[in-house]
């Protein structure tokens, strides 16, 4: 039986097409991915992403536990700040990417991918030799992402908290649409200005919040958006998707996550393997690809070749860019082809389309 979020009935009423995503029955699109995508780039859109997982980590050694299981330096956080990070296995392969919220002294919230909730929880629990308590609060936690240039104006109508004062990757607890204790987080997965709103479904009338936001955004042309638009939006910005661009078989240094891998922060899971990988030098790298031929849309799993027909990589995500009208992808290529401007070939239905290696984001 697929799980449903508290917004399920609203999605159905809105005529959404629902799919199984990580065990949840989620809207992939309402009317049109294109319309939803453009709403977020030009106006404002709202996503139900309540399927995402949330864990509390508390206790005297909460920081030590998170430091040990994640690759970024959690000691840089202060209460009210969030951090993007990843968890690795001992061999450096990626368990998941995640957000870490510092709620207070010895109190953190981790936000993980829906399809990885059980795996992540077990992994952290297994590595918890610290005085820290790990609690899965996914079931009770709702998450709405309100994204786009008009997102702040939309939400500001519903709260007294000055949203323009909440800087990127910081958050505040506030009142929204009459409900207390909503986490107003200036984060997102679309590359646009926006907020992610966390609240406990037992304290809040979820449908009432959804309706209030839709009403507040009406004058700006707000659209409910599904996972389809979420995917085309994130790909244009070059954000990695777990299961596609990052997996247990890829490590952060080759996945363009070197900037958040703090090898000198002290001991952490996967560190030795990553230090070794760095010393040996990368053999392949996650790159962006653009294809000029309009009829050649690269898709996940397609093979990448050099001009002499040697296999040199594979596509991990690909789509028509709705914003640009061109075809874009991300994929791993042998390190010799990872430089910007390299020319490679993607096999699409037995034909090879020329692709240029580029550095994401595709949409600035």
């Amino acid at each position: 039986m697929l799980k449903r979020t508290p917004f399920y009935n609203l999605h159905e009423q809105a005529g959404a097409k629902l799919i199984d995503f990580g065990g949840f029955e989620m809207p992939v699109q309402y009317e049109s991915i294109r319309k939803e995508h453009n709403a977020v780039r030009e106006k404002v859109g709202m996503f139900d992403v309540s399927h995402m997982g949330e864990f509390y980590v508390t206790g005297d050694e909460a920081l030590d536990l998170i430091q040990y299981v994640t690759i970024n330096d959690v000691s840089n956080l202060v209460p009210g700040k969030a951090q993007y990070s990843a968890m690795c296995y001992e061999d450096g392969g990626i368990v998941d990417d995640l957000l870490i919220y510092m709620l207070g002294e010895n109190e953190y919230m981790l936000v993980v991918n829906a399809s990885n909730i059980d795996k992540d929880f077990e992994w952290i629990a297994e590595n918890n030799s610290f005085d820290a308590e790990l609690t899965d609060i996914s079931e009770d936690t709702c998450l709405l992402a309100v994204q786009g240039p008009k997102s702040v104006e939309t939400l500001q109508k519903l709260t007294d908290t000055d949203l323009s004062a909440i800087k990127f990757y910081t958050f505040e607890l506030g009142k929204l649409a009459g409900f207390d204790d909503v986490t107003l987080s200036a984060t997102g997965y679309t590359g646009e200005k926006g907020f992610e709103l966390y609240f406990n479904k037992n304290n809040v009338d979820s449908e009432a919040i959804w309706k209030a936001i839709m009403e507040a955004g009406e004058e700006f042309g707000i659209e409910p958006c599904g996972l389809g638009a979420r995917d085309t939006l994130r790909l244009e910005k070059g954000f990695a998707l777990y299961g596609n661009d990052i997996t247990k078989d890829t490590h952060p240094l080759e996945a363009r996550m070197g900037w958040l891998t703090k090898l000198d922060k002290g001991e952490f899971m996967g560190r030795d393997a990553l230090v070794k990988a760095k010393e040996e030098g990368l053999s392949r790298k996650l790159v962006g690809l653009t294809i000029d031929d309009k009829r050649s849309i690269p898709r996940k799993g397609y093979t990448i070749f050099d001009e002499e027909d040697n296999e040199i990589g594979f596509v991990t995500s690909g789509s028509r860019s709705i914003t640009l009208g061109t075809n874009i992808a991300m994929g791993y290529v042998d390190i010799g082809y990872a430089d910007e401007g390299s020319s490679v070939f993607v096999e699409i239905r037995n034909k090879k389309a020329e692709a240029a290696v580029t550095k994401p984001p595709f949409v600035k």
Binding site: D231, K294, I297, S319, R320, I322
Partner: protein, 126 residues
């Protein structure tokens, strides 16, 4: 969802209309366009291409996914809907009208008659 009564249907979600002059027009159903979502382009084999029944004779690319077009009957492509080159969204907007994909010759009338009726097709997409 609408399924016009003057058409025949396939399990691959295509429709075919007998034009009464030895040719038939082919497209994808309302259900198919809705499942695919925003269509980005339609690529048919060229005019003159001959094919067997169930052979791939075109491709439909949507934003999120790609789908092959299987020939509902054997024949030859006699005309391609050139308008889709500039306006692929016609397939979403008007799948049985301006969103048609190809006109083909009918090699064997019996193949056409054996395809699904609107009622039979409705049952498989219900």
């Amino acid at each position: 969802m609408s399924y016009p009564t003057d058409l025949k249907y396939t399990k691959e979600h295509e429709w075919i209309r007998d034009n009464g002059d030895g040719t038939a027009t082919v497209g994808i159903t309302d259900f198919a366009q809705s499942e695919l979502g925003d269509i980005v382009f339609v690529e048919m084999e060229p005019e003159g291409f001959e094919f067997e029944q169930d052979e791939v004779f075109g491709t439909v690319e949507a934003v999120k996914t790609v789908s092959e077009l299987f020939a509902p009957i054997a024949g030859e492509i006699v005309e391609i809907n050139e308008q889709l080159e500039m306006e692929p969204e016609l397939v979403n907007d008007d799948p049985y009208g301006d969103g048609w994909m190809a006109k083909i010759s009918i090699e064997d009338e019996a193949q056409l008659n054996d395809l699904m009726s609107p009622d039979e097709y409705k049952e498989i997409v219900a």
